[in-house]
Structures are given as C-alpha cells and as structure tokens.
C-alpha cells in the first residue's frame, strides 16, 4: 500500500476562476522523500493541504495510507500526517515552549506526553528554552519548534512547507539528517521548498509543479539538470550541478566537500 495517492485530482478555490490543481496523478510510497518545487502559485501548498484533508478534491481521489480523505476528518488524518506551515506565527500560541509541543500530544492522546515533549525538545536543541514563551525565540528556533511539535506525536507522513527558511547552515544540516533518519524508519517526508541547494543535497524524488500540473516527476539528478524543465518552472540550476556541468562531470557532486575532493584529485593536490 502506498502512503499517498492522488488520482486525477482537480481543485479550485472558490475565490479563483482557474483550477489550482489540474488532473494531478501521483503515487508516493512509504519511506519516500519527495521534494515539491515550482514557482509561486504553481499549486504546491494546495497539493500539501490535500494530504491531511484540509482541502478535499473537487474531482478525483486522494488516498492517504489507503484512506479516502473525503471520508476522514482533518484531525483523524493529522494523527498520521504532520504538516508544518511556512509561518511559525500562524501556529505558536502557548505560554511556554514545552506547552507548545504538548498541544498536539494532548490532542492525539499520546502516552507520557511530558516525557515525549522533553525528548523531542532535546533532539531539537530547544530543551533549555522549555519554560520560555515561544514568541521570545529567534526565527530559526521558532521554525524548529514548529517542526518539533509536529514530529512529537510521531506521524507516519511529514509535510514541511519551506522548512529551510530562516535556518542557518547548521540547522539545515540537522534538518537534512532528521529527514533522512525519518525516511529510514519507513516514514514519508514531503518537502515543499524553493531551496534547490538543500534539495540537491538531500537527493529526494522531485515533483515539479507548474500552473497546477505536475510538470516533471523524477530523481533530483535528472530533473534538476533538465534546463527546459527548470526554465518552465522558473527554477535555477543548483550550484553544484552547474559546476559539474561546466567541468563536464557525469556524476555531479552532492555536497561542496565532495566537489572539493574531486577537484583536488583531478589537480593532484594533497587533500
């Protein structure tokens, strides 16, 4: 059984004339990491909101872990689908950081919520702030808190909308490791992002959205090096892919240190 299944999905917002999703068909397996890219207004967030039933398709079918989203409430689906939206201020409301994490845990009747909250806060480096108001944290910490509070109830699918916005290099690395280990536990991660470098390093399956349709679906190496697709979706070639193209390398490096190693090898310089 697949984790997520979109079958000829059409969706139109009542305030708009054009469809936001047009005949979207895609199947995402358990444990898969999928990057969703495309220009603003391409339908990425609309796609994400269908996964936990916040939006229901006008036409077509959305199945999450085998369940038709039309037959399920948002709360029931959210037990299995954790969504973290772009703006942390749309989510944070509790008096303390600890209570913010506990909110979801209590809603979903998770056992030992206090212990779980502490563990998650520790994992995200936020334990020292547990008694502080969430709004007193920095932008990056607020974002991490939002991710921590969704991961806390251990959903099977995680949807992250622009997770790298406001994150420094170290936090991005931590996030990358978290998503990889998440996937290794057989869980699915969907990342809606404009951060091409981050997606390049993560090496996920890529869905390119343009004007409500899926323009391309494939491995990051293939999609992100196809100039026609990148142009159509107003995307930029990741820097490492561009470097590899200019140097004529067949297999582009995934990280800057990998690129540096290869250059040193070619030049015969000591590492």
């Amino acid at each position: 059984m697949s984790a997520i299944e979109f079958d000829h999905v059409w969706y139109r917002y009542s305030s708009h004339q054009d469809y936001a999703l047009k005949d979207v068909t895609v199947t995402i397996g358990k444990g898969e990491i999928v990057g969703v890219v495309g220009p603003n207004g391409a339908g990425k967030t609309t796609f994400a909101k269908h996964i936990n039933g916040l939006l229901k398709p006008d036409k077509g079918l959305v199945k999450v872990l085998g369940r038709d989203t039309k037959d399920e409430s948002v709360a029931r689906l959210s037990r299995d689908v954790g969504i973290i939206f772009q703006n942390p201020h749309h989510q944070l409301f509790s008096e303390t950081v600890s209570e913010e994490v506990l909110f979801g845990l209590k809603n979903f009747d998770v056992e030992n919520p206090g212990l779980v909250a502490e563990r998650v806060l520790e994992d995200f480096g936020l334990l020292q702030y547990r008694e502080k108001p969430p709004l007193s944290l920095s932008g990056g910490e607020k974002k991490r808190l939002c991710i921590a509070s969704a991961i806390a109830w251990d959903p099977k699918i995680l949807v992250l909308d622009e997770p790298t916005v406001g994150q420094d290099l170290n936090n991005k690395r931590q996030l990358l490791d978290l998503i990889v280990s998440w996937s290794q536990r057989g869980k699915t991660a969907i990342l809606v992002s404009h951060d091409m470098e981050f997606l390049w390093a993560l090496n996920p399956r890529i869905l390119v959205f343009s004007k409500g349709r899926i323009l391309a679906d494939g491995k990051v190496d293939v999609v992100f090096t196809d100039e026609e697709i990148l142009h159509e979706a107003s995307l930029r070639l990741p820097q490492l892919a561009e470097l590899a193209a200019k140097l004529g390398w067949k297999n582009p490096p995934r990280t800057p240190s990998e690129a540096a190693k290869r250059i040193l090898e070619v030049k015969g310089w000591p590492m």
Partner: protein, 222 residues
C-alpha cells in the same frame, strides 16, 4: 464614477433609511439601495454580505413581535435596519481603499487618521487570509472546533486568537517601520499621484441625487 458621488448616494440612502419609519417608504429606500447595487454590478456580493445582517433582521422582527408590536411595525424596523446596513455596504463594496483615501483627503481629514483608516480597510483581506492559515495550522495539530460543550469550544479559540493578534501586531510593526524608512511624516502636505475630478457623468449623477433627495424629503414631510 467619482467616489465622492458614490459617497453622496450612500449618504442619501443612509439618511433616508434612518428618517423613514413607515413600511412603503422604507421599502422604497431599500429598492433604491438594490437599484444602486444592480447598477454598480455588486448585487450578488451585497446579498452575500447581508447574510449575517439577515440573521439580525430576523432577530429584530421576532423580538418586536414578541414584545407586542404589530407585524407591520416590526417588519418596518427590520427592513429599516437592513436598508441602513446595505446603504453603507454599497459604498464600501464599490470603493477601493485608494479611492477612500482620496475622498477622506478631499474632506480634509487629518493625514494620520486617513492613513490609519485606509490601512485598516486594506488589511481586512490580509487578516482574513492569516485567519484561514492559522485555522488550517491548528486543525493540522488535532484541534477540533466541532467537539465539546460551549465553554470547551470557547477555550479552543485561544490557539486561533493568540496567533491572530501576534500576527496582526507584527504586521503593523513591520508596516510602521516600512513607511517610516520611506519618509512617512516628513512632509506635512505630501503630493498625490491621483487627483479627483468630476466628469460630466458625475455632475449629472449629482443632479439626480439632489432631485431624489428633494423628492424623498417631500415624502418625509408630507
């Protein structure tokens, strides 16, 4: 049409909605409001906007009948209320915040008041968008508004209200900084790109409004 003409029409309809207190005349003013809505092609939006007013209209009708007023009198009061609300809605539905700003400037309202008022109007759709995103974010964390007794449901509003207030405050702070760095308040009499000018069409509208006011005043007195 010049926004000042629209304001004049709305003020006339509003004033006579308040002034009349018998059914045929109230119905006449309401018909004029509907006519204004039809001519400005906003009738559907106007009707949508009056859904909440409709609940209050029904409430006024029921309360007045319950406390012993006649059905005709109760109906008059209810339709009068609908007419008052709709006449102001006609103006706001046909006037953009920019036009509103121009009208207020023309009325010599203080600049800060004009800016605060038009910004508040401009921010309504933005805040509505924020509200829908906040509701989506909290529902995604398992918040169910449909469940529980009235007190529990009231408590469930805090995950919505707190982010809503915080977002609005942050936005207003950002805006304050953004306008300050672009020179807001430096000049006491800033220039304007747009200037309001009456066209022949506007003048003919004013003549019609004056004639209609005279006719309705005649109806009011006799």
């Amino acid at each position: 049409m010049d926004p000042r003409c629209r304001l004049l029409i709305a003020l006339m309809l509003f004033a006579f909605s308040l002034a009349f207190l018998d059914l045929p005349k109230v119905v006449l003013v309401l018909a004029l409001v509907i006519l204004a809505g039809t001519l400005s092609k906003i009738l559907r939006r106007l009707a949508k906007l009056q859904i909440l007013t409709g609940i209050l209209v029904a409430f006024i009708l029921v309360i007045n009948i319950t406390i012993g007023y006649s059905v005709i009198y109760s109906l008059t009061l209810s339709l009068r209320f609908l007419s008052i609300v709709s006449s102001t809605s006609v103006f706001f539905l046909t006037t953009s915040p920019d036009e509103l700003e121009q009208v207020l400037k023309w009325l010599r309202a203080p600049r800060d008041v004009v800016f605060a008022f038009t910004t508040a109007v401009r921010f309504v759709p933005v805040l509505m968008l924020d509200l829908s995103q906040i509701i989506a974010a909290q529902r995604s964390r398992g918040l169910e508004f449909e469940k529980g007794n009235p007190i529990t449901r009231l408590r469930k509003l805090s995950p919505i209200l707190v982010p809503m207030i915080v977002t609005a405050l942050l936005r207003s702070n950002d805006l304050a900084e953004a306008i300050e760095v672009r020179g807001y308040g430096v000049s006491k009499r800033p220039t304007s790109i747009y200037e309001l000018k009456f066209s022949k069409y506007d003048w003919s509208c004013i003549v019609i409004v004056v004639l209609a006011t005279a006719a309705l005043t005649f109806l009011l007195i006799y």
